[in-house]
């Protein structure tokens, strides 16, 4: 039952996320359209070395047994990037209005929700968190480059577009919902029977925890998106090259954002019982760890760049008379934990109402996987596309990510 819920949620809501290589195929039909409604979700996550079997436990609960921990621990290095995204977007394209009296220039409105997660979990941090320090007594645990980030925000956008090739741009007001960012630039942990040493240089910021839920307002921001679809000659036919930039902007988190900074080395050898005997009880709950670790707390606004997504790809041409088309491209998301991703695939449309696309890719938050996409097209009125960019991971606990995407398009003529 839980698995069923998991997959349903994955498809429809995007608790965890997937990578969408292209939107609906590009068509150049627009003359008789009045309105197009485009709804898309992308739900994906990817990890370089942490298997789905553990990620699933974190997402949906359950006991992580030793075997599960061991399988992942043995694969880890000090660089174990991970990340994911929930992308939900609903756009309304007005075809009837001719902006500035230009036949092909329309506008569109949209609302969406984004939830980014990315980070890096060094092997020693994973081991420390999952096994405790007892197996590693006498060993230095390197926690350098530990980081995690979570940004969640609503997006209200208005933009202009070219009705024929769907090129366009919009500006968005961002409604900051939730924020967490922590980074340990340098960190060491060492323990033996007599001492625990902790060296830490880093900081953590997070939005006001008293306001939670999808409606919580904790900041605001602005962003722009653009999408440039360029028709080109492609051998004896034509093709469309897409240059797309999304989420290029910032969020300013409000003054209730809390930041902790630490740059200290701390050693703990236990409480001195002689202090206890002399009346300076160490067991009275008054130990100030913030002071001991030299952690400084502050509150105030924090500005963050949101992870922008840049895609350059040869995309599918909806109106092409070729049943078989190729697609390929490269994508970048501007976080430290995203490796530039290249992908390539073939698109086959045997009949007008159905098409599928198979891809392979390398990079992203994880590394290598395949993708599969199914399109169901009801003439030029209604279309549904269902895809995954992690076909192995989505269906296997041994994979390193999962991805399910759904697109629904309706057109009113």
């Amino acid at each position: 039952m839980k698995n069923l819920l998991f997959y349903i949620a994955f498809i429809f809501t995007g608790l965890i996320q997937a990578q969408m290589y292209h939107d609906f195929p590009i068509d150049s039909v627009y003359e008789d359209r009045i309105l197009m409604i485009d709804f898309q979700t992308e739900d994906y996550y990817g990890t370089l070395n942490i298997q789905n079997s553990i990620i699933e436990k974190f997402a949906f609960g359950g006991y992580i047994d030793e075997d599960n921990k061991n399988r992942t621990s043995h694969k880890l290095t000090q660089n174990n990037r991970l990340g994911g995204e929930t992308y939900t977007q609903l756009n309304f394209y007005d075809y009837k209005t001719k902006l500035f009296k230009k036949e092909r220039l329309g506008y569109y409105l949209g609302i969406g929700y984004r939830n980014y997660v990315n980070g890096n979990i060094p092997q020693d941090l994973f081991n420390l968190a999952m096994y405790g320090n007892e197996p590693y007594l006498g060993e230095n645990m390197n926690l350098n480059n530990t980081r995690a980030q979570n940004l969640a925000y609503w997006k209200l956008n208005i933009g202009l577009y070219d009705k024929k090739y769907k090129s366009g741009a919009n500006i968005s007001f961002l409604y900051g919902n939730r924020f967490f960012k922590g980074e340990l630039l340098n960190g060491d942990f060492y323990a033996n029977d007599e001492v625990v040493n902790l060296k830490a240089n880093g900081q953590v910021s997070f939005s006001d925890g008293s306001k939670s839920g999808l409606g919580a307002f904790n900041g605001w921001g602005l962003s722009v998106d653009f999408n440039w679809n360029i028709p080109i000659k492609w051998f004896k036919s034509k093709a469309i090259i897409q240059i797309k930039g999304e989420n290029i902007g910032f969020l300013s988190w409000n003054k209730n954002t809390t930041t902790y900074r630490v740059d200290s080395t701390y050693s703990f050898i236990g409480f001195n019982v002689n202090d206890l005997i002399n009346g300076n009880s160490a067991l009275n709950g008054n130990v100030d760890w913030m002071d001991s670790l030299n952690i400084q707390e502050s509150k105030g606004r924090v500005m963050t760049w949101i992870p922008a997504r840049i895609t350059i790809a040869k995309v599918i041409d909806e109106l092409s008379d070729r049943k078989l088309q190729s697609t390929f491209g490269v994508r970048m998301i501007t976080t430290k934990d995203y490796f530039p991703q290249v992908f390539a695939g073939i698109y086959y449309r045997p009949v007008n109402w159905f098409a599928f696309c198979a891809t392979v890719r390398y990079g992203g938050f994880d590394s290598f996987d395949g993708g599969l996409r199914l399109d169901f097209i009801a003439k030029d009125i209604f279309a549904v596309t269902l895809s995954t960019s992690s076909i192995y991971g989505t269906f296997s606990n041994k994979g390193y990510g999962r991805s399910v995407n759904l697109g629904i398009r309706g057109i009113i003529r």
Binding site: F39, D193, L214, I408
Partner: protein, 525 residues
């Protein structure tokens, strides 16, 4: 349609989110960390500085305490006394402004039972003076106490009292502090005792009117001496008998709750101290060692018990007063002091009697006491720390306040490991008892063994500590116990495996210990 899908999405998010939270993610970890460390010497264990080091580095127990402490003011009380004077003219006449029309000298006697005091120094206390003026002009009232002096100056108080009437005299109140004054109580002739001279002088208001004062217009003055506590006295202190049956608590001994100790030798002095220049006598009727835990008591058997002792006066005066000390030596040879102490008394009961001036006024009224004069019985224990213990149980309690969330910290199992280097020639078993706010035990951590004793050489001296380790197992309820505990009681069992062979304690003896944990934690969120 699209809106419906979106609402459906949100509902599903909520359902799955909350269903996940219910299940929670969990895994098991194991953590090892130091918890506490310390070095416990005999001074740390006993806390009171009662040990001295002998030339051979052995420790000598030197413990001194006053088991009877008599404040002289408890023997010699000055009762609260009120002197009421009504002063009036002999005849009726007109009194012009600024006229001194009354000047009256009186003698008043303090009722000091059975004593003839010539001179008294006042440590604290004073007098409340109330004046009722029926004369229809204001008056200046001057009260002088000749012979009541501080730094050679008589005590004199002048106050202005507003005009009154016969039917409605004006009341005036005044407080006078007598601290630091010395009172000459020999009276006007210089041969009396307990007698105070007072002078009352009344002058009419220089700015008032001439008034007609009759011989019935008497000014009433009440002088109430209150809470006078002397710290110096001269005279004859009377024949007084003070008897008491005192219980003396030995707080640190209450920590020993069971077991036995064999003491090699004891040397104890009971010093009867007389810091008062007065002849006295005394008798110790009974001295009893009481162990309230085992409910056993042992009476001291010694020749001094029940025997009357003549106590000479102290010598010197003021800052040079030297008390007379009557020492009573009590040792293993002349008494049962060893079993008396081996009873591990946490209380002593002493039944005694002191008599001041048993032969009457043989000093000719020249008894003295001074601010530094003390009278009492001092116990002085001076003995080598050579003993043997047989499962001597010792407890001590410390406050404990650790705010933990037992739900967040789920211990699955674990152990606390105590490692120690022990010089002491006895083994040590330590158990930790957690107490709630009512002081009732919640849980006890039992050890799996003893911290091993230091091994003495041929001379009975431990030169190298013995290293050993004991383990306390903790279970999943441990954090709940910590959360609910307000105190931790340390219960220790000291045992000499070669009992009754006794060993000296040396000044280098200590226990150097470290406590660390190895705990299994189930992480959940």
């Amino acid at each position: 349609m699209i809106q419906r899908i979106y609402i459906f999405n949100l509902i599903l998010i909520s359902v799955i989110f909350f269903s996940c939270k219910r299940n929670g993610t969990s895994w098991d970890t194991r953590w090892a960390a130091p918890i506490a460390y310390g070095t416990l010497s005999i001074d740390d264990l006993v806390q009171d500085p009662i040990f001295a080091t002998n030339p051979d580095s052995t420790l000598q127990l030197i413990y001194t305490t006053n088991i009877v402490d008599l404040d002289f003011d408890s023997l010699f009380k000055i009762p609260d006394t009120t002197i009421t004077e009504k002063i009036a003219l002999a005849i009726s006449l007109d009194v012009p402004p600024g006229t001194s029309f009354i000047n009256q000298i009186d003698e008043r006697e303090f009722d000091i039972e059975n004593a003839q005091i010539k001179e008294l120094g006042i440590k604290s206390g004073g007098a409340e003076i109330k004046v009722l003026n029926p004369i229809e002009t204001g008056v200046y009232l001057t009260i002088t106490l000749p012979g009541v002096q501080k730094q050679g100056v008589d005590l004199e108080v002048t106050s202005f009292v507003q005009a009154g009437t016969s039917s409605n005299p004006t009341e005036f109140n005044l407080s006078v502090d007598f601290s630091g004054y010395i009172m000459d109580l020999r009276g006007a002739d210089g041969n009396s005792w307990n007698t105070l001279i007072s002078v009352f002088e009344v002058q009419s208001d220089p700015n008032g009117d001439t008034v007609y004062v009759t011989n019935l217009d008497s000014i009433q003055i009440d002088v109430a001496f209150k809470d006078l506590v002397p710290d110096y006295g001269r005279g004859y202190f009377g024949n007084r008998v003070l008897s008491s049956n005192d219980t003396i608590d030995l707080e640190f001994m209450k920590k020993f709750v069971d077991g036995s100790v064999l003491i090699d030798s004891v040397n104890l002095n009971l010093n009867i101290v007389n810091g008062v220049v007065v002849v006295a006598s005394g008798v110790v009727n009974q001295l009893t060692s009481i162990n309230s835990t085992t409910n056993t008591s042992i009476n001291l058997n010694h020749s001094i018990i029940g025997q009357n002792i003549n106590i000479n006066p102290a010598s010197g005066s003021w800052n040079t007063v030297t008390p007379f000390i009557y020492p009573i030596n009590i040792n293993s040879a002349n008494s049962n002091i060893q079993p008396f102490l081996e009873n591990l008394p946490d209380q002593l009961i002493m039944d005694y009697e002191f008599e001041i001036n048993p032969l009457g006024n043989i000093s000719g009224g020249n008894d003295y006491f001074y601010p530094l004069s003390e009278m009492g019985v001092e116990l002085q224990l001076d003995m080598p720390t050579k003993f043997s213990v047989n499962h001597l149980k010792f407890i001590d309690t410390f406050d404990l306040e650790i705010n933990q969330n037992p739900e967040a910290t789920r211990i699955t199992d674990g152990e606390l490991i105590l490692t120690a280097d022990n010089f002491f020639p006895f083994a040590l078993d330590v158990e930790l008892i957690f107490l709630d706010e009512m002081g009732l035990p919640i849980d006890t951590l039992f050890s799996n063994g003893y911290l091993q004793a230091g091994i003495p050489d041929g001379n009975g001296k431990v030169n190298t500590p013995t290293n050993s380790q004991i383990i306390y197992l903790v279970d999943q309820n441990f954090m709940q116990v910590i959360e609910n505990s307000k105190q931790i009681m340390i219960w220790a069992d000291l045992n000499n495996s070669s009992h009754p062979m006794s060993y000296d304690l040396y000044n280098h003896y200590l226990i150097d210990f470290k406590l660390r944990s190895n705990i299994g934690l189930n992480i959940q969120f």
